[in-house]
Every structure is written in C-alpha cells, then in structure tokens.
C-alpha cells in the first residue's frame, strides 16, 4: 500500500493547524452581518459574522463543522478578513476562486492571499473544491446582500 504522503499537497501543515485550532470562532456580540451556509452533500456547515468599524472589519467570526478543507478555509478567511474593507474582501474571494480554477496568480496577488496559498493543493481534487469555497461563497453572498443582510441582523 502506497504511503499517504501524496496527501501532503492537499493537507498542508497550515491547513491542518487551522483545522485543529480554528481562529476567530467565537460568536460576536452584535454583528452587523451574519450568514449561515452549508453543503449538504458533504455535510459541511459554516456561520460567518462581521462587525464593521469605519468601513473595516473590526470583528470577524467564523464557526462551523465539517471536513478539514472547509473548516481550515473558513478559519483562514476569518484571519485574512480582519481589518479589511468590503471591497478588499470581495477581491480576495475573486482571488481564491481564480486559484481554485488553477490560474496563475501574480506575486502581489499571492501576497494578498497570505497563508491561503496553502489551499492551492485542493485544485487537484476537484470534488473538494466545493469544500474550500463554501465559506468564500457565503462571504460573497453576504457582502452582495449588504444592506439587506445588515437590516436582518439588526431586526432580530
């Protein structure tokens, strides 16, 4: 039986670290935005909350349950989004999508993604791309619905 070392490409150290020790997974008190998303086919669930100050994300919380790829991607999202504007966050969604499609990214784009580059290996496992993108697609939906989503949260 061949060793599992080939999997290292998929499960990079950073990925497994974020899976085991998810960052920013404590719920926020009074979020401005909140969204829940799931992928019933594999059983991944995620909830994202954002709080803005001066148009920048001052609080980010991402929590959920699911596979190593979906949960580490979500944790990386939380880390990366801290202090960013909506436009900047949307821009990283686009970059993550492009990376999953296998496009080459420029050095400055890779800089922008930081540790997220560790998810690059997922593109060799097409059925797992959905897992990696779950939280990013949710983030995008949430930001696109910005006024409506904001109102929903404040009306609760």
């Amino acid at each position: 039986m061949r060793a599992l070392s080939e999997l290292d490409e998929l499960y990079e150290e950073i990925i497994l670290d974020h899976y085991r020790n998810p960052r920013n997974n404590r719920e926020l008190d009074a979020p401005d935005l909140e969204i829940e998303a799931d992928n019933p086919f594999c059983g991944d669930e995620i909830k994202i909350q954002l709080k803005f100050e001066d148009d920048r994300a001052a609080g980010v919380s991402v929590a959920g349950r699911g596979c190593a790829i979906s949960q580490s991607s979500a944790s990386l999202l939380a880390e990366l989004s801290q202090g960013r504007t909506r436009e900047e966050m949307k821009n990283s969604v686009t970059l993550v999508r492009r990376m999953m499609r296998g496009e080459e990214l420029s050095d400055s784009e890779l800089d922008d993604l930081g540790d997220l580059e560790a998810l690059r290996g997922v593109r060799k496992y097409p059925v797992r791309i959905k897992c990696a993108l779950l939280s990013w697609v949710a983030l995008e939906d949430m930001l696109d619905d910005y006024p409506a989503a904001r109102q929903q949260v404040s009306e609760r």
């Binding site: 039986m1 599992l4 150290e13 497994l16 594999c42 059983g43 991944d44 699911g66």
Partner: protein, 412 residues
C-alpha cells in the same frame, strides 16, 4: 458457499488499479460492478440482434422482442411474481416509486387519508410521498427507528390505521442495513385495508425475495445495484392493481387504438411502458439475474452476512469509530455505516481513495436519518459477492493509517 476467487475473475474492473493500488470496491450499495456475462450480453445484442421491439415482422425485431420478453420472464421467476405482466420495466427504483405515486396514489389518496413510511428511507421513497400527500391534503407518517437501528413495530401498529391508504417501506436500509420485518408490516397494512409498496433496492440484489410470500402489492428495485446496467429498473405490482391504475406516461406502445379524439390503453405490462423501452439494458438485466440465480441467492446472502459480521468486528476495533445500525450481522444487509471521532468522512474518503479503497461518504440520500444521529455525514462500506475478508482488513488498516497520517501531519 460462493467461490469468491472465481467470481472475481468475472469482473474485469476488479483487475484495475486506482491511484497505484488494486481497487477495493466497497460502494456496492450505490451501484455494483458488472460481470463480463452482462457486458457481453449488451455487446451481443447490439452486434447481433438490435431492432425495435413489438413492431416488426422482420427477423431482428422478432429476435429482440423475444429476448426482451425472456428477460422479463427471468425477473418474474427471480422474484416469484405470478405472471410476466406484473413486471414493468422502468428506469430505476426512483421511477418505479414515482409510477406508483403518480398513478395509484393520485387516483386513491383523499384528504384526511395517510401514507405511512419509515424514518430510514432513501430520499426516493420520501420525496414523492411528501409531494403527493401535500397535494391530496393527506398526512405522511414515519415509523420511528430504535437505538439499535430497528423499526419500532409497536409504533407501526399504532400509526397504521383505518385512514392509511398506503404503507411505503424500505426492505433493507441503505444506511443502517437494517432489515424490515416486511411480512409483519404487510399484515399490518392489509388488515388496515391499505396497500404496501416495498423499496427493494437493497434487498432483491442481496437476498432471496419472493413477492408472493411477502404478499406485497408493489415492489421496486434497480438493475444497476444487482450486476445489471444503469438506466433500467423494475416495478412489480399485483396485476389487479395495475389494471385499475391509469397510465403513467402517454405515447407510443402503451396504446392499442388511437383515433383523433381518443385512445385505448394497451394490455399489461405495455400500458406502463410508453415509447421505445430500454431494450438492451433489459436484456442485460436478464443476464444479471441468470448470474445471481446460478450463484443462488441464499449463498449470496450468507456470503454477505459473513463479510458483514467480520467487518463489524474489525471496524469496531478502531477505538474512535462509531458504527450506526444493528451490530448483529444477522439483522442487516451488507452495509456498515460509521463515523470516526477525529476524521471527517470526507477527509477519510479522500485518503482511502489514495489507497484504492472506494467507500461512500456523505448523507447517503437519507438526510433526515443521518441527521437523527447527530451528524451531517457518515462513511459507508457496503459489500457484494466479490468482496473478501482481506478487503475488509485493507479497509481497517487503511483507516488506521489515515488516523496516523492526521495525527502526525501538521505536527512535523
């Protein structure tokens, strides 16, 4: 007993490698592999006999009609149906169930009636009844499953009442493997004046099934889960019911006479087989039935019981694993669903695939049931005639190796 080594020689796909390792195929509840006898039948049909059925006076049309009807007769004998016309060809189990929903149930369900199903159904035996009962303002009831994964028959006796028109139950659960006490359920249904439809997708391929002994009214299964091709399935129904039911689909072949104003329906079973049927795959299903009949369904069942018993024992040696469903192999079909405390099923599935081991992960088309166990996904190994104890060992060793991998990776 089965001669598994010689059986394996009949399955060309078992010789292939996956990611550099010999294939260990443990996803048989999803679909089974095909023996060369079935593949050869398909090729032979297209190379030697291909023509449309029931339409021509020419030799090929007569030959293909004979082969098509001979396959129906093989299925009839296989499930001990009383007459060939009680066997309707469909696309799969799902279509067979929909046929019953759209014809029998639509004509017979009224406001205030109820349909009783179980908490361990495949989506294809839930969703049609949700829709139909909603349209008819009827109620849908679920017989609960106990902690051992067995149907609560006391509850069934209470749920089935004088307003029950239909009991729709799986014979073997595709997640828990639990075998339904189907004779008991049939008696409950009939004494309440209801009819019973059995989802036999996971029973007909794996054990002797006799529709007259069960005394069911409808029974559905798919050829692709019993060595046959995809795209072909069966609905068995009592002929009196079929006679009284409106057609499912309209068109060619299902009529006997058409005027500009009206049409008269054809005799059974053709009334329910509109258009050119899936001729080649029906004939190849006959070859699959021959293959299984030659092995003997008692032997098939006994082989799977032994493998399942062994798998239940071995897999529970892995401390972090929790197995769903009965732990007694004699109460279940060849299905072992489980979760691992530290590894998500999806990660486990991807890692085992690197070793050539194919298992199913996810909700298994039974979301409500899987969720009732407090998880959103599970892993499932399911067995068939060509699986061996050595393959079970490979699975368990594989799980342990994945455990080691996830324990060490990232901690380097």
């Amino acid at each position: 007993m089965l001669d598994v080594q010689s059986i394996r020689q009949d399955f060309p796909i078992l010789a292939r490698k996956v990611n550099g390792n010999p294939l260990v195929y443990l996803d048989n509840a999803a679909t089974t592999q095909k023996p060369r006898q079935v593949i050869r039948t398909l090729v032979d049909f297209y190379q030697q006999h291909n023509a449309n059925v029931h339409r021509g006076v020419h030799t090929l049309s007569i030959e293909s009609t004979d082969l098509y009807e001979e396959a129906r007769a093989k299925v009839q004998r296989f499930i001990n149906a009383p007459v060939p016309e009680s066997v309707i060809w469909t696309r799969n189990t799902s279509e067979s169930i929909n046929l019953v929903a759209y014809t029998w149930a639509r004509a017979n369900l009224q406001a205030g009636d109820n349909v009783v199903t179980t908490a361990m159904e495949h989506h294809s035996n839930i969703v049609p009844w949700q829709q139909l009962t909603r349209q008819a303002c009827a109620e849908l009831r679920y017989i609960p499953v106990d902690d051992d994964g067995l149907l609560q028959m006391d509850a069934a006796a209470n749920l089935i009442d004088e307003r029950t028109r239909l009991v729709a139950a799986t014979h073997v659960s595709n997640v828990l493997g639990s075998i339904t006490p189907i004779h008991h359920l049939t008696r409950l249904a009939h004494s309440a004046g209801a009819v019973i439809m059995v989802d036999a997708a996971q029973s007909v391929p794996h054990m002797p099934v006799d529709v007259q002994a069960i005394d069911c009214d409808f029974l559905a299964f798919s050829a692709h889960k019993m060595l046959g091709p995809t795209g072909i399935g069966v609905l068995y129904a009592r002929p009196e019911l079929l006679d009284a039911m409106p057609p499912f689909m309209y068109g060619g072949d299902m009529i006997i006479e058409v005027t500009y104003e009206d049409a008269r329906w054809n005799d059974l079973p053709y009334k329910f087989e509109a258009g050119t049927p899936n001729i080649a795959d029906a004939i190849a299903t006959g070859a699959a039935v021959d293959y299984l009949s030659n092995l003997g369904m008692e032997n098939v069942q006994e082989h799977e019981r032994q493998i399942t018993e062994y798998a239940l024992r071995r897999i529970r040696e892995v401390e972090a694993v929790t197995v769903f469903g009965p732990h007694d192999a004699s109460l279940k079909g060849g299905v072992v669903s489980f979760v691992h405390g530290n590894i998500h099923p999806h990660d486990l599935g991807t890692a085992l695939d690197r070793m050539g081991i194919a298992i199913r992960t996810g909700h298994h088309c039974a979301m409500p049931l899987v969720r009732s166990y407090g998880v959103v996904a599970a892993a499932r190994a399911s067995f068939y005639i060509y699986n061996t104890k050595e393959e079970v060992d490979l699975l368990v060793d594989g799980i342990l190796e994945v455990e080691r991998y996830f324990a060490h990776a990232g901690a380097k």
